[in-house]
């Protein structure tokens, strides 16, 4: 079969405009497919994993936007005394846009020592001591830095908050790469004295034996009669609840991913059918020379596979390039979904492209291989 590969390539090149259009159409459809897959994976990453189940988020009762949740910071010491609690991290959140946005900036104010202890971040540039030693210092996630063109030493202002970038970090949790960390007390004071002594949420890290659900209930009961009521959920559930509206939209969008697959299938199948119809006589000549019907079938299948696989490779490569270079994300209520490329997503895209190539080639390949030679030779 390999001996016929040059013939297959030349056959595809014979109608180069048609071939290029099919490949580019396939590439665009696969790019969209992978992009949608990246959004879904980003959503899944927020709601699954160890961190999502073993960390509790304490938020003000009946509040959704981080701007409106104001918990007394001293709740930290009360929660820290509960059995099963390993540590409590008070977090002040400030975002320039509480609604769904593709370019929301989310600041998280955290005490430097707690940030270092509980967030798995790797500084790509800058240093910790500069961050800890300067009041208005900020560590910027790599995706925000890419999107906004920020580097160490830059001043950055959003609304009332002005910071100096003292480090750019990368985190294995893709969503964190869209955050900007500042010192807690800086962010509490940044928008006036009204926020001093309050935090947006408390991150409760549990030890191995603690029951997250039981502890969440216990925390809420503890503050039920207090000045500010709380709603405590696992981090995964908190993020899922916060992004519920977006999740519904993302759930719908995944059908568009399937539509893209259907589009590729019809595109490649149409091109392959046209190619076979153009060459009824040529296939009969090849069979006269001694090509087995199965080999004619294989030739058509190879053409179909090449079209879709080439388009798939271009589309997947394009999506990887786009997703890795643009640092894209969508945020709502201060929670960010990062669109990250992944090997599994790339493989999924390629498998889809190959599978579609096989499916698209089946019927025309079968038709070409079953053609009666003599009538086909008379074909104009």
């Amino acid at each position: 079969m390999l001996k016929f590969i040059p013939y297959v390539f030349k056959s595809l090149w014979r109608h180069r405009a048609r071939t290029l259009l099919t490949v580019s159409g396939t590439a665009v459809a696969l790019l969209v497919f992978c992009f949608i897959g990246a959004v879904q994976q980003g959503m899944l990453a927020l709601t699954s994993g160890d961190d999502a189940g073993r960390t509790l988020i304490v938020f003000q009762e009946n509040r959704f936007c981080p701007q409106s949740s104001r918990l007394p910071q001293d709740y930290e010491s009360t929660i820290a005394k509960l059995p099963g609690v390993q540590d409590v991290v008070p977090v002040k959140v400030f975002t320039n846009n509480c609604r769904a946005s593709l370019d929301a900036i989310v600041f998280q104010g955290v005490q430097p020592e707690k940030l270092k202890a509980w967030r798995d971040i790797d500084l790509q540039s800058g240093n910790w001591s500069a961050f800890s030693g300067q009041d208005d210092a900020a560590l910027v996630g790599i995706d925000v830095a890419t999107r906004r063109g920020l580097s160490v030493g830059d001043k950055f202002t959003i609304g009332d908050v002005s910071v100096v970038v003292q480090g750019v970090f990368k985190s294995p949790a893709a969503a964190e790469n869209n955050l900007i960390f500042t010192q807690l007390d800086f962010l509490q004071r940044a928008r006036g004295a009204n926020d001093v002594g309050t935090v947006t949420m408390l991150e409760v890290h549990l030890n191995d034996t603690a029951d997250p659900e039981a502890l969440a209930k216990q925390i809420d009961q503890e503050f039920h009669a207090g000045p500010v009521g709380t709603t405590t959920r696992t981090k995964g559930m908190f993020q899922a609840d916060t992004l519920a509206d977006l999740a519904e939209l993302i759930g719908f969008v995944h059908w568009l991913g399937y539509a893209c697959v259907g589009l590729v299938l019809s595109l490649v199948a149409t091109t392959t059918v046209m190619s076979v119809q153009d060459r009824i006589k040529e296939h009969a000549v090849l069979q006269t020379l001694g090509l087995r019907p199965l080999r004619v079938f294989s030739l058509v299948m190879t053409e179909s596979l090449l079209l879709s696989t080439l388009g798939g490779i271009l589309g997947v490569a394009g999506s990887v390039l786009l997703l890795s270079s643009a640092g894209m994300s969508v945020a709502a209520e201060g929670v960010t979904i990062a669109f990250e490329p992944s090997l599994s997503l790339a493989m999924q895209g390629l498998v889809v492209a190959v599978a579609v190539g096989v499916l698209a080639g089946l019927a025309p390949g079968w038709h070409a291989s079953r053609t009666e030679i003599v009538p086909a030779l008379r074909h104009a």
């Binding site: 001996k3 016929f4 040059p6 013939y7 030349k10 056959s11 090149w13 014979r14 006589k281 040529e282 000549v285 090849l286 069979q287 006269t288 020379l289 001694g290 090509l291 087995r292 019907p293 199965l294 080999r295 030679i373 003599v374 030779l377």
Partner: protein, 236 residues
């Protein structure tokens, strides 16, 4: 034993409600090295007989034995393998693959046979030289004249050294001068390469070049005014 034996072969096909029977129990034998022309009126069934012998059409009844193999008993796949090894087919309209060069067109049948690339190259060069087209090896069919295309078609038919070369109206689409060149080339193929040749033609002058001239009339094969019979085959 004859190289080709056609024994009591019939072919019929439906045309609407009508059944057409272009061949009705015909028999024919061809010896190794023969040059046979098959003539007859249009629609007499001569191309049908040629296609049956070439293994690209199926007989309704009878046996066709080529080099000891009854090809009517072969499956589609086996028949394709058999054609690759035993048949060289020259078409009326050349039927070269337009995206392949002259060299690649001639090489095509060899890709189906177990052969090293060196051996393939050697055989293609010999075939191209035999049809005097070495200088056109890299040309595509669209860059060649009808006569040159047909010579490439002949090179493609002989390159695998087949048991039988069949030619279906090989000069049907050519002018007189080119027809003469092609007929001379076919005679050389038969005489110098000692290849068995069966040519279908409606042109009496072309048919006269063959050593044996057979006519197909009303579904019967006639040679020298007599009908060819099965019984005569094995004594021929």
């Amino acid at each position: 034993m004859p190289l080709v034996e056609v024994i009591d072969v019939s072919k019929e096909y439906a045309n609407g409600e009508e059944t057409i029977r272009p061949l009705d129990g015909v028999s024919l034998s061809i010896e190794e090295g023969d040059y046979v022309s098959l003539m007859g009126a249009s629609g007499s069934g001569k191309s049908t007989l040629l296609n049956l012998i070439a293994g690209i059409d199926q007989a309704t009844a009878g046996e066709i034995i080529v080099a000891g193999t009854d090809i009517t008993k072969l499956s589609r796949g086996k028949l394709a393998d058999w054609r690759a090894a035993h048949i060289g087919y020259i078409f009326q309209t050349h039927n070269l693959i337009p995206v392949l060069t002259a060299y690649e067109n001639v090489e095509l049948p060899l890709l189906l046979l177990p052969m090293s690339s060196g051996e393939r190259r050697k055989r293609v060069e010999i075939a191209m030289e035999a049809v005097d087209l070495t200088s056109r090896a890299t040309h595509y069919p669209r860059q060649m004249s009808g006569g040159q295309e047909q010579r490439v078609g002949i090179a493609r038919a002989i390159v695998a050294n087949p048991t039988v070369v069949v030619a279906d109206e090989p000069t049907g689409s050519l002018d007189d001068e080119t027809t003469e060149q092609i007929l001379q080339l076919l005679s050389r193929v038969n005489e110098e390469l000692n290849m068995t040749l069966l040519m279908v033609t409606h042109d009496a002058d072309a048919g006269a070049r063959a050593r044996r001239r057979i006519r197909l009339e009303r579904g019967r094969l006639m040679e020298n005014g007599k009908e060819l019979q099965t019984a005569k085959l094995h004594t021929a």
